[in-house]
């Protein structure tokens, strides 16, 4: 509580239930919150913990199958919202309480021009119409940094990029000068660069007004960078509440500790630390435990936790915690190591020794070049328009991958990063053979590899495997886990069915799944479990190279950590190489030995992971690195904000492709000449007109690599 003496939002003892069949299940229990004007409170927790339910309940906008149980208190600016009728609430929603949804493209009406939609808000909130409304809308668009507001107003939602759409929803929310703003994961679907811009925007706009913000996210980095106070929600209960500094410095709840530990921090790599993960799943609402809801997943659990429900204790320093053993958490979290001396690892009870960092250093990756990609091209033809067809003009194809050279050593992890639309996934699909390349060469262990999977020999097929992004889609819902794993064993390793069956169980064990999982179907598995099965399936053919296309981006942080650990561990056991694609730099930084940065179909920087996170950077890498939301409130970097207009791959910029967005553009040369590759230390290469030493001098502040500590 900061600003005023009367909180803007005062919530006490709020219990929210959903009707399932004939019973009401309490999804959120005993929720409390005090939000002052101008304050930003973060609400964090895994998916399914009730964050969005809280958001809807605070707006008094629950669906028909949800209700707020009596006895709770929900006061907004001194008024009792629970007593209000729908009509009263509608007036509040029109002006004083606003909501920014996660998915802006779904929130905007696709058939109404942006300008009209935004002005409708003004009409509803303040009765302003016509020229006055137009003016304040354009003014608001300037505030949210929308380039060319007049033209944006004329467009339909689908003509805007995701980042621009989210700016429009934020403009819509702020245009009525609301007192309370609830933001539900507004940046989750966006690129880091866009996310950084939006976060900056929210921070600025809130500072100018006295709006109280509840910011819901699962991303601790965002919380650390944006919020003043944090509420940690688990299974519908508040686990901990504290100021952001205090929470990150000294988490009192084991759950908070687990969440923080599961995010790789800059400088951490698989060689130095194992990530913590939180085993198990949140309890089902139908069978809530009598004691602490977190007991089943807690590394510090004692008998008391299972029998008695811990109260939400008030602690000095204006913080709250719901744990019997918070003092012990304090003890274990203190230096030297910020990690629990207790395995929070997945389903297997790993002894401490095995949680220790992996031993292999950088040198371990063998010098054998496993895969060499030379001048790889992939173009997608574009159907000619009627006019082009008549004039016999061939339309420019989309150049998704445009001359990429890569080398991968056996046992090495090569990280590939870039914004969405940079061609990462196309590159992966061309290498694996799902799409045919338009040009260039692909060699595996010195042998040419054919274009498409249909032409490749089983030997090549078995050496190359892939792990996909979305665990929901990567397993066939009609095949059991056993069937999914046995098939590649029979097909690519020529095993007899009985032997394959036995081997499948061994593989399941490798990915830390019990044998009984063999007979389950994908809909009986959680997201993390599905991804483990997908990993087991990829490893079944004993491949030399596994392409991992965003394998953890669809998972919760705690699960993400377990999967990353598993990937690191399997790599050590099998000595397989990874091409690891991700938009998340901290994940790539953790797992990769070398990193390649991709922009609009070309690589702009390649180097050892360590080299890549310290100057000199390519200006694009610099922007990516600076945009990274680091889960540490003390970490402050000067953010380099890029415009969120990624040029189209059909109409590529001349000269350096990055010049349209580059903050370090030096002049006309960037627009006319393609930049040269500049060689740095240890194979570090940057494609830029600016010499490396100049770049290094310009960027000396921005160091993320662990090299410095």
């Amino acid at each position: 509580m900061t600003a005023s003496d009367r909180p803007l939002l005062d919530v006490e003892g709020l219990t929210i239930s959903y009707r399932v069949g004939k019973t009401w299940l309490p999804a959120v229990r005993d929720f409390r919150l005090q939000l002052g004007a101008g304050e930003i409170i973060g609400l964090v927790g895994e998916s399914g913990c009730g964050k969005s339910t809280v958001a809807l309940a605070l707006m008094h906008y629950l669906a028909g199958n949800g209700r707020v149980e009596s006895g709770g208190k929900l006061h907004f600016a001194g008024e009792d919202l629970l007593a209000k009728s729908n009509a009263d609430m509608r007036r509040l929603w029109a002006k004083r309480i606003k909501f920014v949804p996660q998915n802006a493209s779904a929130a905007l009406n696709p058939s109404i021009r942006i300008g009209k939609q935004v002005m409708e808000v003004l009409k509803a909130s303040d009765g302003i119409e016509g020229a006055a409304a137009y003016e304040s809308m354009i003014d608001m668009f300037h505030h949210v940094n929308l380039v060319d507001p007049e033209r944006v107003a004329e467009r339909y939602p689908h003509e805007l990029s995701g980042g621009m759409q989210q700016r429009v929803t934020i403009a819509m929310a702020l245009i009525s000068n609301p007192e309370l703003l609830i933001m539900d994961e507004p940046t989750t679907g966006l690129d880091v660069t866009t996310e950084a811009v939006i976060l900056e925007l929210v921070r600025d706009l809130i500072a100018q007004r006295d709006t109280g913000v509840i910011y819901i996210t699962h991303n601790l980095g965002v919380v650390a960078q944006l919020c003043q106070r944090v509420l940690v929600l688990y299974a519908g209960e508040i686990m901990e509440e504290a100021d952001v500094q205090a929470l990150f410095e000294e988490p009192h709840h084991p759950y908070t500790l687990g969440l923080i530990g599961s995010v790789p921090k800059p400088g951490e790599s698989k060689h130095t630390v194992r990530l913590q993960s939180i085993s198990g799943n949140p309890p089902s609402l139908r069978r809530l435990p009598g004691g602490c809801v977190f007991a089943e997943r807690c590394p510090l659990v004692v008998d008391l936790c299972r029998s008695d429900k811990p109260p939400l204790e008030s602690l000095p320093g204006d913080r709250l915690v719901r744990c019997h053993r918070w003092e012990d958490v304090d003890a274990v979290v203190q230096p030297p190591s910020k990690s629990l001396p207790i395995a929070m690892e997945g389903d297997l009870p790993t002894p401490l020794s095995e949680v220790a960092p992996l031993s292999n250093g950088l040198g371990r990756a063998s010098p054998i070049t496993l895969m060499r990609v030379t001048d790889l091209q992939k173009q997608f033809p574009v159907a000619p328009t009627a006019r082009e067809a008549l004039r016999r003009i061939k339309p420019t194809p989309i150049r998704a991958v445009d001359g990429v050279d890569l080398q991968l050593r056996a046992g090495q992890t090569l990280g590939l990063v870039g914004e969405s639309g940079s061609g990462k996934t196309t590159l992966a699909r061309v290498i694996i053979g799902l799409q045919e390349r338009s040009g260039g060469k692909l060699e595996l262990l010195g042998m040419d590899v054919r274009n498409s999977v249909r032409e490749r020999s089983e030997d090549v097929l078995s050496k190359l495997q892939m792990i996909f992004q979305n665990p929901q889609n990567s397993l066939n819902p009609y095949l059991s886990v056993r069937q999914a794993i046995v098939r590649p064993l029979i097909k690519l390793r020529g095993m007899a069915p009985a032997a394959a069956d036995a081997e499948a169980l061994t593989l399941l064990e490798r990915v830390n799944l019990r044998a009984e999982y063999a007979d389950r179907y994908p809909d009986e598995l959680s997201g993390g479990e599905k991804q483990r099965v997908a990993i087991a399936r990829a490893f079944a053919s004993e491949p030399d190279l596994i392409i991992c296309d965003e394998p953890v981006s669809a998972l919760d942080v705690s699960v993400q950590a377990a999967v990353l650990n598993l990937l690191a561990q399997l790599q050590e056991e099998h000595d397989s190489a990874y091409l690891f694609i991700s938009h998340n730099l901290s994940v790539v930084g953790y797992l990769a030995d070398a990193i390649a940065v991709m922009y609009l179909g070309q690589l702009v920087e390649v180097g050892e992971a360590r080299e890549l996170f310290q100057p000199p950077y390519h200006p694009y890498t610099e922007a990516l690195v600076s945009a990274l939301p680091v889960a540490d409130p003390t970490h402050k970097t000067e953010r380099i904000l890029l415009s969120d207009n990624l040029p189209s791959a059909q109409n590529l910029p001349s000269g350096c492709r990055f010049h349209t967005r580059c903050p370090r553009k030096i002049g006309a040369v960037c627009e006319t000449d393609a930049p040269p590759w500049r060689e740095g230390e240890a194979g570090h290469r940057i494609r830029c007109h600016i010499p490396l030493d100049e770049l290094e001098a310009l960027q000396s502040d921005l160091v993320l690599a662990g090299g410095s500590d």
Binding site: Y18, V20, L25, S47, G48, C49, G50, S52, T53, V54, A55, L56, A63, Q102, N103, E185, T188, H218, N281, P282, S284, R286, I432, G433, L434, V453, R454, R456, E458, L461, M466, F468, N470, Q472, N473, S474, L475, N476, P477, Y478, L479, S480, R487, L492, D519, Y521, D523, E524, L525, S526, G527, G528, E529, A534, R537, S541, A554, D556, S558, V559
Partner: protein, 343 residues
Amino acid sequence: MAGFRINEQEPRREDTGGRDEGENRSCPQTYQGRGESRLMPSSQISRSLVNLIRTLLRQPQSAVGTALALFFFLLALFGTQLAPYPNPNDQSHDVRQSPTLDFAKLQLGEHPFGTDRLGRDVYSRVILGASSIFRIAGLGTLVSVILGSALGLFMGYQGGWVDEILGRVIDATLAIPALLLALVLVGIIRNLDFEAGSWQAGLADNVVLLVIAVLYIPIVARVARSSTLDIRTREFVAAAEIRGESQAYIIFREILPSVIPSLVVEASLRFSYAIFLVASLGFLGFGARPPSPDWGLMVNENRGGFYQLTPWALEFPALAIAVLVIAVNLMSDGIRRAVQKGV
């Protein structure tokens, strides 16, 4: 993104959708049912089927529809045993007798639906007529679903110019009104002179069945194709391609199971249309020939001046057609709802 999305039917999926889709909690309670699967290798599909039937019976409309359709199906199977006069052309009764059906006393009487102008028992003829309509409409639908879905799966998976050409052909066939095409086809085949007993003659006898298959193959193929287009972009298909699986394996093992739900919906819908088409063709005189107990034919034979004398000989077969079509429609609606809910 809802914090708790709760699915009424399946409590284990109280999970969120959206991007940060994490660990879906799966309650152990659902695993208890899995115990038997180890003894009996029941597949995911048969499990879905059980769920489908359960969902069908839960809704009153679809339960009534399913029950009625099932009732007619039993008539079709055991017609000769159930009909009081198993020979539909038994003219031994007095002509033009009124129905003896008495709802109040729940008595059927001698001739529940009366007799027609030739002295045939209408009740028996209606019961015996069920089998031909089920045989022709059912088999016609089955053939069109099997061939149509194979075609659609192939087109959808193959894509490219193969899909383009076949797609245009299908569009062209769909542009022709169904009944018109049916009349033309039946007319042509009927007028051909085949040697009795030859396979062509056998074909000509089943011409309506054939016509149904030909008419519905393109429609089913379109549905199968569009579902396939959706499924083929799933990553498990890519995983199979990376394994070097054959096209047939990918189509039938990886894609087909996921397409089956929409095919089942389409099949049930096609079936209800087919029943109506068979009855229409019968009525127009292009289907079954007299004196077979075909419902459509019976309606036709007893209209005009005869309707004044024996209205029941027209009304009861007409009622049978109406009830069966509505019943199958209700059932098909229920199947669609159940599938959309995701069984």
